[in-house]
Subunit: 196 residues, 2 copies
């Protein structure tokens, strides 16, 4: 194949099939297996579509959805980082930057720049769109773990303090989702799914 624009786009589309083999720590709600990052990205993109009315600010929904569809792609090279693992953040960031260079670099340069910028925006959590995208990304595992009687919290002995830290940005994207999170955590503690 020649290296025209459409061929570059198709090469990227084929490459990202690998995200379907990147396993997260969370399990499906039926607990049959661990979830992968591609299906997780689908789930939170649709979650954002449905919950956008609860965002604190008026948002560009297309921008949020694009961000969620691409936010985990660097994991193809850098792997998934468990939210409660004690990884070296600088090391992980360096790996992810190299991954972003290579993978987004498969695209025509204007799209490589656009996707790279979306990925950085998601991480920086400063725009209204990034705040809301992070809110749904952080709420989803709370729902999964709650449905699975503690899920990864139980398996890995995650403390309430760590969960609280992880969910603290949810309210910045959506006060309503922040309140829902607090209600779920209170119930999870009452039921013994998380320990103080």
């Amino acid at each position: 194949m020649s290296t025209n624009r459409l061929d570059q786009q198709i090469q990227f589309i084929l490459e990202i099939d690998k995200l379907k083999s990147i396993l997260r720590r969370t399990s499906l709600i039926n607990e049959a297996r661990r979830e992968n990052s591609a299906e997780h990205s689908w789930h939170i993109a649709l979650m954002a579509v449905l919950l956008v009315e609860h965002a604190n600010e008026t948002l560009n929904l297309t921008h949020v959805v694009k961000m969620l569809l691409i936010h985990d792609i660097v994991e193809i090279d850098a792997g998934d980082t468990f939210a409660y693992a004690g990884v070296n953040k600088a090391d992980q960031q360096a790996k992810e930057t190299i991954a972003a260079e290579r993978i987004f670099g498969l695209l025509p340069s204007d799209q490589a720049v656009e996707l790279r910028a979306l990925w950085e925006e998601f991480d920086a959590m400063s725009t209204p769109e990034a705040k809301f995208a992070n809110a749904v990304d952080r709420l989803m595992p709370i729902l999964h773990n709650y449905q699975n009687q503690g899920g990864t919290w139980r398996e890995h002995g995650v403390t309430l303090a760590k969960v609280e830290q992880r969910v603290s940005p949810i309210g910045d994207g959506s006060a309503e989702l922040g309140q829902l999170t607090q209600a779920i955590l209170a119930d999870a503690i009452a039921q013994g799914f998380i320990h103080r």
Copy 2:
């Protein structure tokens, strides 16, 4: 939980986790396992974002992406239909209609109506958005099967005539993607991945 609006939305979001367990006939490009409908939906939603410039008409991208994110949800109850299987179309349609009633019906009524309409629009293939959404949905398995030296065409002895029929709407969404499809099929025949 009470049955307020947010709770209904969350119940729907939990329910659709089941789409991750609905297997399609196509395999991942690494052939490790069959692909599921949730990760497939992620893949074609992002494909639409990247390829929208090749659509025949100016499109509302958000509308296309929403359609692709929800287009397979009825499979949770109705199962995936292999594009080349000899299923009774009326039976399958009846099953899917009941599935749509139940699953979209979990949402607040305005969103239930919106998602149901998107699903019907996708199936009718008459709007520019639905034509383009169907084009990417039909192109993706061509890419997978070509990468997998024939994939499901080989496994199920699918003839060129049937593949041609399946891909014929691609050009209605995007002439450029239609031409790409023809080039891939010509090469697939040359390499013996499909038989005439």
